[in-house]
């Protein structure tokens, strides 16, 4: 089901096809005529937007006369910090950078789909899968860093050593199911939101699709928050022992 190209992807494919083939060649994929996919260029656009936003914010930060942008970001930071402290505990702020990145990246990826001429990269399964794998690696690494490698593996055995034979496969399966569920939840929500809007666009016009698009915006915020919240809970579970 090959999607039509956006104008940005067409620009990339017309002028930067060689660079795209080099990049895919690094992982061993064969070169093709138009290597840039929609979701790749959209992710680059989102990353650029986030970088520009924070680059505009940084020089405007001031203790005495905060502006509107600083107030907005102080609200966002306060919210994220409070959530991290509530979920992970006192050391939550160490991991806040990753949580905040995940939240803003997924949020902007979801919201850019509402803008005409752009497409949400989280609509293809690869992008949520990438962020979920990053989350999975992050919480395991955080657990190993906090507890030591052997102690971290030991907590897979459960509370009592006698239960270890039962607990280890259950814990393994549940841990492996986490990136899967994160991926499918985000992908299915975004994909279903867009499909529903398209269906109503075919059936009627102007106001009814706009209502569903509004619902899609609300779901975008909610799904970004839930992804971040679940990552926080997994990190909390991984670093929780004997601290």
């Amino acid at each position: 089901m090959h999607e039509t190209e956006l104008w940005i992807t067409r620009l990339f494919n017309d002028h930067l096809a060689g660079a795209g083939n080099t990049l895919t060649g690094i992982v061993g994929m064969a070169p093709e005529a138009r290597p840039w996919a929609n979701f790749v260029t959209m992710q680059l656009v989102v990353a650029l937007i986030i970088i520009v936003l924070f680059a505009i914010l940084k020089p405007r930060l001031s203790v005495d006369r905060p502006g509107k942008l600083q107030h907005t970001f102080e609200l966002a930071y306060g919210f994220l910090h409070e959530q991290a402290e509530e979920q992970v505990g006192h050391e939550g702020h160490h991991y806040l950078a990753f949580f905040g990145t995940i939240f803003f990246f997924i949020l902007f990826c979801n919201l850019i789909g509402v803008v005409p001429g752009f497409e949400a990269p989280t609509m293809v399964p690869s992008v949520p899968a990438g962020v979920a794998i990053a989350s999975f690696c992050y919480y395991n690494i955080a657990g190993v860093q906090a507890n030591g490698f052997l102690k971290y593996l030991a907590h897979f055995a459960g509370p009592m050593p006698a239960l270890a034979i039962l607990m280890i496969p259950i814990e393994l399966v549940s841990h492996l199911a986490r990136p899967l569920s994160l991926t499918i939840r985000l992908f299915a929500n975004m994909y279903a939101g867009e499909q529903v809007t398209m269906v109503f666009l075919k059936l009627t016009f102007l106001f009814v699709p706009a209502i569903f698009m509004g619902l899609h915006v609300f779901v975008s915020f909610l799904q970004a928050y839930i992804f971040m919240l679940l990552t926080m809970m997994y990190v909390a579970g991984a670093v929780a022992h004997e601290h």
Binding site: M1, S181, I184, R185, F187, A188, N189, Y191, A192, L222, Q223, I226, L229
Partner: protein, 105 residues
């Protein structure tokens, strides 16, 4: 055996009788001939998943509303638990949708 259980068993037997030729009625020439059953079962499975998800979310919302009414001071914590529960239940219905997209089209 009650009458209700008897009806349910008869329904099950009837379904199995229909499913047999549909699933296994392939000759050597045709490949998997149950093609159009995929669409029908996709529709039914999504309906069942959405229905049960609706029931589960209704229970969650009812419990949350009652909790917030009894204890308005705990409203923030209850709202948080409600939102988390709703999203996790929603994702169960969406897993069915993903299977449908994989199988149909």
């Amino acid at each position: 055996m009650t009458k209700k259980m008897l009806w349910k068993m008869m329904l099950l037997v009837a379904l199995m009788m229909i499913a047999g030729p549909a699933l296994f009625g392939q000759t050597k020439d045709q490949p998997f001939a149950g093609g159009h059953w995929v669409s029908i079962s996709a529709g039914f499975s999504m309906a069942i998943a959405s229905g049960m998800c609706g029931l589960a979310q209704a229970k969650a919302v009812a419990a949350a509303a009652e909790g917030m009414a009894r204890n308005p001071g705990a409203a923030a914590a209850i709202r948080f638990a409600l939102l988390l529960g709703l999203v996790l239940i929603e994702s169960l219905a969406l897993y069915t949708l993903v299977i449908i997209f994989v199988k149909v089209g």
